[in-house]
């Protein structure tokens, strides 16, 4: 009986890592969207799928105020934009479709508390106001004015933990076309690679250990981590600057295991950048 128990224990232990991996992956796509605020968030994250629009956007950050004309989608299923502040004949630029994975909202709900309030008129359209308050100090806060009819974000403010506005954008005008007017606009669900969690709420999206590049996300905010050798003679230290909502944090690490220069770029607070730098490990055997 005792031997049987040990065998079962061994079996359980051998299975455990896989169970943990599965549970980590499973919770992200298994959440209930019951509140109106969560439903509003779902609409924001799924836009512009199923929509077709053209509009003018005011974007403010880092002392810059830009007017851009955006439209969605083009024939290739991408967005296009032109910068109106630029010189004559601004070039057409492309912007990618957002992730439309159904599991993404669960990741976001896991780390942000949504609440819904009365909206205002944005670009001549009625909106609802969605607040995304972080559940921990590891992320920024967002205030979204979403279109009452389509659910698309017509205005958005990104704020630091102290309520300081870091950047914002807002539509000055927007015209939605009927879906199907000029062909299908519904995208196939775009899966996003969801790797292991390295810092609470942040999971690896892509990694290239050979180049020392890692990208993490909490479903909404993203941070990129770049690792390089620290030049000889450079002392250990750290520094950070913020441009709009984008933080850049650098840390030089000098230890017997190696000399690293770690750069973290992302729409995250300093504390998160520090944690991300903390979890970088040098190659086995040092440099």
């Amino acid at each position: 009986m005792r031997e049987f128990s040990i065998q079962r224990l061994r079996h359980s232990l051998s299975v455990l890592p896989f169970v943990l991996l599965l549970s980590t992956a499973a919770y992200a796509t298994d959440c209930e969207i019951t509140s109106p605020a969560a439903e509003a968030l779902r609409k924001v994250l799924s836009a512009p799928q199923g929509l077709r629009f053209e509009g003018t956007v005011l974007s403010e950050r880092a002392g810059s105020r830009q007017f851009i004309v955006v439209s969605w989608p083009d024939a290739a299923g991408q967005g296009t934009m032109r910068r109106m502040n630029a010189a004559a004949n601004p070039p057409l630029e492309k912007w990618p479709a957002p992730f439309t994975s159904a599991g993404r909202i669960c990741d976001v709900l896991n780390v942000y508390s949504p609440s819904l309030g009365k909206g205002r008129i944005v670009a001549g359209r009625a909106t609802q106001q969605l607040s995304l308050k972080p559940k921990d100090p590891l992320r920024l806060a967002y205030l979204v004015d979403l279109d009452a009819q389509t659910g698309m974000a017509l205005a958005m403010v990104t704020a630091g933990s102290d309520g300081q506005v870091l950047e914002r954008y807002e539509y000055a005008d927007i015209t939605f076309s009927e879906v199907g007017d000029r062909g299908a606009t519904t995208l196939e669900a775009e899966p996003y690679s969801r790797g292991r969690i390295v810092v609470p709420g942040y999971f690896l999206v892509t990694e290239d250990p050979g180049k020392g590049i890692f990208v993490v996300s909490d479903g909404l905010a993203t941070a990129s981590v770049f690792v390089e050798p620290l030049p000889a003679g450079a002392p250990a230290g750290e520094g950070a600057v913020i441009e709009g909502a984008t933080l850049t944090y650098t840390r030089g690490v000098a230890s017997p295991k190696g000399r690293l220069l770690i750069s973290v770029l992302g729409e995250v607070p300093v504390v998160t950048a520090r944690l991300l730098a903390d979890v970088v490990r040098p190659p086995r055997g040092g440099e």
Partner: protein, 205 residues
């Protein structure tokens, strides 16, 4: 008494901890702008350290130029393959410690309670409205929070801030490509890149 004499006297007072705050600021500015004064400051620090601990922990403490020279113009990324990211250990402790480290200094917490966006205060989740700053700025990380920190530590911090700015310009496009798809308005990442181009054009003039 010449200005140099006054600086030397102020430096001595600074070493003895007898400097008032305003005088401290002036002295530090003078040290930063005068290589001879900085050399004297370094020697006095070494002597002071020797007297206090009977050892020299770091004889060459004026590292700011060395850091800048070593780290500037380094476009190449890692030569060492197979870095990894581990799961954060003792996260709760780390968060608490980090939270304490990034508390803004008293000097920064006196921002006026107004916003310059759209002429109105921006309400954000019950937080107290403060000065809306859309400009680029440095952040107070541990080494630079206090004027009482050793000059060398603050110089290293300043060098790493400059490095962070350089890294932003170098790596932002790469980051933007990854981050855009998680944002409700992916095109804002295009806009962010233009700021970098504009900044580079300004620097080049």
């Amino acid at each position: 008494m010449t200005a140099k004499d006054r600086d030397s006297e102020a430096l001595s007072a600074l070493m003895d901890g007898e400097t008032q705050e305003l005088e401290l600021r002036r002295s530090l500015e003078a040290i930063a702008g005068d290589p001879a004064l900085r050399e004297r400051w370094r020697r006095q620090q070494q002597v002071s350290e020797l007297l206090q601990s009977r050892r020299l922990s770091c004889p060459d403490v004026d590292v700011s130029e060395r850091v800048a020279a070593s780290l500037a113009d380094r476009p190449a990324l890692s030569r060492n393959p197979l870095w990894s990211m581990a799961v954060a250990a003792s996260v709760t402790v780390a968060v608490v410690m980090g939270g304490q480290l990034v508390v803004p200094s008293a000097e920064e917490s006196v921002s006026p309670l107004v916003s310059d966006i759209g002429g109105a205060v921006v309400p954000v989740m019950g937080a107290q409205p403060i000065q809306a700053s859309l400009g680029a700025k440095s952040l107070p990380v541990a080494d630079r929070q206090s004027q009482n920190m050793p000059l060398a530590a603050r110089q290293v911090g300043a060098a790493y801030e400059r490095l962070a700015h350089d890294r932003y310009r170098l790596l932002n496009a790469q980051h933007a490509n990854q981050a855009a798809r998680s944002h409700p308005a992916p095109y804002v990442f295009n806009v962010r890149q233009e700021i970098v181009v504009a900044a580079e054009a300004t620097d080049g003039q």
